[in-house]
Amino acid sequence: MRRMSPLQKLVSAVILVIALILFLFPVVWMFLTSFKTEAEYFSYPPVFIPRDFSPRNYLNAMMLPPDGRGGLQGLRDSLIVALSTTIVSMLIGSLAAYSLSRFKTGGENLSFWILSTRMFPPVAAALPLFLIFKELRLLDTHWALIIANTVFNLPFVIWMLKGFFDDLSPEMEEAALIDGCTHWDAFIRVALPLITPGLVATALFSFIFAWNEFMFALLLTRRSVRTLTVIVPSLVGGHEILWGEIAAIGTIAIIPGIVLSVLFQRFLVRGLTMGAVKG
């Protein structure tokens, strides 16, 4: 590659820094707002830096109505739904991925059918799921969201893990099989431990997809289950707009995503394209 002159280097660095400021500004603004008082966020010209960084908005947000524990309930429900979805899809998905990768089960058609279920528009699935869950009395339960999210996460988990198994040479497992191991042992004791980083990255992605999910949470649950993503718009729509409290909830809600993008950058390309592009 051509060497850049110092001037070129400076110009590209400046452009990148400006772009970075623009891309991070909304996030930083929300973070700062989460510490502002009402007088500070409803003022013009806008106050950029709050006077003090007291956690009062965070404490208030946790105890917002309904039931005086809005944010706390949201945190609990988001955690339950995202964790359960991740566990279920990882358990079922890792087995299927292993099978598709090692035995070429169902050939390419099965793999691509599984992938295509992910492309389903959620709004098209929401109505029939709503009616079916109503019959089964699952509306407004954690199960409704866990099931709905699992459908969309399972294809992702299977494709991601299939990619990791494909990259792994089967020699170790073959050796284990010759030594008298069953396929189950070869899977649990040999293959899975060898793709640990891939497993962790996939699980984190699956967690974040469920954590960020909004439409199903809006349509399939109401009072007893309220994830963070439905609490945010329900507060925005209220009579008095509690910028500070919503910003506090929003800041808590983006923590898992930031952790993933910082810790697992080398898997991001794969994760965001479902293995279509290997970074």
Binding site: M1, R2, S12, I15, A19, F23, L24, P26, V27, W29, Y41, Y44, P46, F48, I92, L95, A96, S99, L100, F103, T105, E108, L110, I114, S116, M119, F120, P121, P122, V123, A124, A126, L127, P128, L131, A148, V151, L154, H183, W211, N212, F214, M215, L218, P233, W243, A247, G250, I254, P256, G257, I258, S261, Q265, V269, L272, T273, V277, K278, G279
Partner: protein
């Protein structure tokens, strides 16, 4: 006899292997079948029904009436399709343009690249609902920082823009939110593509006297194209389902100038409770997304064939 025995043994082994294979895959296949096929059949049945939850509770068979009404008599459906198309075409083009630019710059950043990419990717990992809320604050006509910055730059001549209440700019406000959130995604994909191009190719071109411009269009671009196409298709499929940001930032308004097809379907189903009609619209979206997805899958199959 020995020969036959050996053949029998290998047959048993094959069967056992097949059995293990399906035993491993069964839970996933059953789950996916149960939760995709049932709703799909349910929906297809609904397409031919009139079922208004607001008036009568008994569904009634109406044949193709729902589909005909959606396609030929519902101008709001076509308006929402147009809004969606604008967001896909303009949104993805802008994202690709800026994303490619940033990727080209980042590609030369050496050891700074990794931390920079992590920071750039934060918007992608955020819940679209939270992104929508952030832009609600930024676009606020009285207290928003955007209007403040514009006022500063124009020396007070331009002020107090109603970004989300003005029908002329509301769609632009949605578009910019989507661009903000997804430009880093295309940047990341293009960057991954750039890094997979061997350096020797550029060196060879340089030795042969190619200008940087020629080297980009003759080497970089053709090698990047497959990756870019995959990125565009993924984004197009996602943008087709755009809902969260619209719900948060404008609620489809003012009027219905920012109503996407997903949002209109949601209104019909969960605000107006026209179940048959909603199913008909959902069905049409399924056909469209299937077409894009087919293109994506066949492209990916071809890519794999080449490797």
């Amino acid at each position: 006899m020995k020969h036959l025995e050996r053949q029998f043994e290998s047959l048993v082994r094959t069967i056992r292997k097949r059995r293990t294979a399906y035993f491993f895959a069964a839970p996933a296949i059953i789950t996916l079948l149960a939760i995709t096929i049932f709703p799909l059949l349910y929906e297809v049945r609904l397409v031919f029904m009139s079922w208004e939850l607001t008036t009568s509770a008994t569904p009634e068979f109406v044949g193709l009436q729902n589909l005909i009404k959606v396609l030929f008599q519902d101008s709001r459906f076509w308006s929402s399709m147009r809004v969606t198309a604008v967001l896909i075409v303009l949104g993805v083009s802008i994202q690709l343009g800026i994303g490619t630019g940033l990727a080209l710059l980042l590609n030369r950043m050496g050891r700074w690249r990794t931390p920079l990419v992590s920071l750039f990717l934060i918007p992608v990992m955020i819940a679209p609902v939270v992104a929508g809320f952030q832009f609600r604050m930024i676009y606020h006509d009285q207290f928003g920082p955007l209007n403040y910055v514009i006022e500063l730059i124009t020396g007070g001549r331009w002020r107090g823009f109603a970004w989300i209440a003005d029908p002329n700019v509301a769609l632009f406000a949605i578009l910019m939110t989507d661009v903000w959130q997804w430009t880093p995604f295309l940047m990341l994909i293009v960057l991954a593509g750039l890094q997979s191009i061997p350096l020797e190719l550029h060196e060879a071109a340089e030795v042969d006297g190619a200008s940087p411009w020629q080297s980009f269009w003759r080497i970089t671009f053709p090698l990047l194209l497959p990756v870019i196409i995959i990125g565009i298709l993924i984004r197009a499929m996602d943008a087709f389902k755009l809902f969260d940001i619209v719900y948060l930032v404008t609620g489809g308004g003012p009027g219905n100038v920012t109503e996407t097809i997903s949002f209109y379907t949601y209104l019909q189903g969960f605000k107006f409770f026209s179940l048959g009609y909603t199913a008909a619209m959902a069905f049409i979206q399924l056909i469209i997304i299937t077409l894009i997805a087919r293109f994506f899958l066949s492209f990916q199959k071809r890519q794999r064939g080449e490797i």
